[in-house]
Each structure stands twice: as C-alpha cells, then as structure tokens.
C-alpha cells in the first residue's frame, strides 16, 4: 500500500471512507435545511435564530461544517492531483483550499456560537 502521500487520511481507503461518511452527513443536513425552509415559508428572525440557539442544531451544524471541511478537502485534493501535474501549482492550489476551509470552519463556529 502506498502511504507516502499528502492526502487527508494518509491512505486512499481512509480518504474514500471519509468522503462517504461526510457525504451522508451533508446529504442529511442539506435535506433538513431545504425541508425546514420549505415548511417555513414566512420565516422570521425569531424562529430562525431560535432554531440555531438549540444545542442540537448547533451540534448538527458543526458536524455538517466539519463534514464540509473533510469532504471538500478530500474532493479537491483528488481534483488537484488529477489536473495539476506541476508540484508547485498543485501545492499552491492546495494551500489556498486549505486556507479557505480553515476560514469557513472558524467563521462557521463563530456564526453558531457568536449569535
């Protein structure tokens, strides 16, 4: 097994699994959000912020944000190794992705607990 690679789980199988588990969590979260918005057509601020003040919703959301981070990293890592054959360009791309993911994560935590 090849392990000297720069992917998230240090092995293709582990990345593959991370991608599936995070995909399922994201699927559940996406369906939940769409249904919630569909069933609350005249949504107001009180109801909306009330939802996000619940502990379970914050946990659920944080789980989704972490899943986005893992899912996007594994996914874009794969994309970058497929198309960017030049090490420097690939590294630069991955660095930007990593930074963006980090920003999204911190931003997400702040939105969830800062309100």
């Amino acid at each position: 097994m090849v392990t000297n690679i720069t992917n998230l789980g240090r092995s293709g199988l582990s990345d593959w699994l991370i991608q599936r588990v995070s995909a399922i969590i994201l699927a559940v979260y996406a369906v939940f959000m769409v249904l919630y918005l569909l069933f609350h057509p005249g949504l107001d601020y009180a109801t909306w912020s009330g939802l996000f003040s619940q502990t379970w919703m914050r946990i659920f959301s944080l789980l989704a944000f972490i899943s986005i981070a893992a899912h996007a990293w594994v996914g874009l890592w794969t994309v970058s190794t497929d198309y960017l054959k030049q090490a420097g360009a690939r590294f630069a791309f991955q660095a930007v992705v990593m930074l963006a993911i980090f920003v999204f994560l911190v931003w997400g935590v702040q939105v969830l607990w800062g309100a």
Partner: protein, 125 residues
C-alpha cells in the same frame, strides 16, 4: 507516464458516454459548491446576526436578480451533486454496477436532477 505509446487525449474527438458526462458534472458541481460556500456562510452569518441582517438577506433573495441567479445556480449544483452522489454511494454498495445499470442510473440522475433544477428555480422565483 513517459512511455512512447500513442495516446489520444484530444477531448474534442473522444465520444463521451452519458455516465462519463454525469461523472465530470459531479466533479464540476463539487467545485462550484465549494466556491459557493462563501455565499452560504455569508447568508447564514448575516441572517443570524440581527433582525436587520435577517431582513437584508430576505430582501436580497426576494428582489436582487443576481442573488436569485446565484441561489438558483447553487441549489441546482447541490441538487445534481446530491443525486449523482447518492448514485455514487449506491454503486459503491454494489448496486447496479454493470454497463446497463450504469447507463440507466446516469439517465435517472439526469432526469431527477433536471426536475430538481426546475423546482429550485420555481422556489427561488
């Protein structure tokens, strides 16, 4: 891959079967969704920040054509990525992994996604 064997990577002369097209579309929508996250986090942040922020997001989504287009585009990308992703997971589980199954599932993916894209448009407008 420095071997001298002949390769044809001229994409314009390669015929893409439907499953190849849905596969690359899954990849493209994945990248779009990543870029689109910035709008999603912005909307979530603003809408939860204060009643005024909430109204601002609502107003933007209700009246700004560009915002509507972005919302529609992102919902469509999510719809396709979602359906193709589920298809992917089914095939990982060994369901429909043959030439016929692959074709049929690619067709089903396109049809369901197209419906979702239309529904997303109806929703946004």
């Amino acid at each position: 891959m420095n071997s001298k064997r002949p390769v044809n990577l001229d994409l314009t002369t390669i015929k893409f079967p439907l499953p190849a097209l849905t596969s690359i579309a899954h990849r493209i929508t994945g990248v779009i969704l990543f870029v689109g996250l910035i709008f999603g986090f912005w909307a979530l942040d603003a809408s939860l920040s204060s009643p005024e922020g909430f109204e601002a997001v609502r107003d933007t989504l209700a009246n700004n054509v560009l915002a509507k287009l972005i919302a529609w585009g992102l919902l469509s990308a999510l719809g396709f990525h979602f359906v193709a992703g589920i298809k992917h997971l089914l095939m990982d589980a060994g369901i429909g992994v043959d030439l016929e199954g692959g074709h049929r599932k690619a067709q089903i993916t396109v049809v369901i996604s197209a419906i979702l894209v239309v529904l997303a448009g109806v929703w946004v407008w």
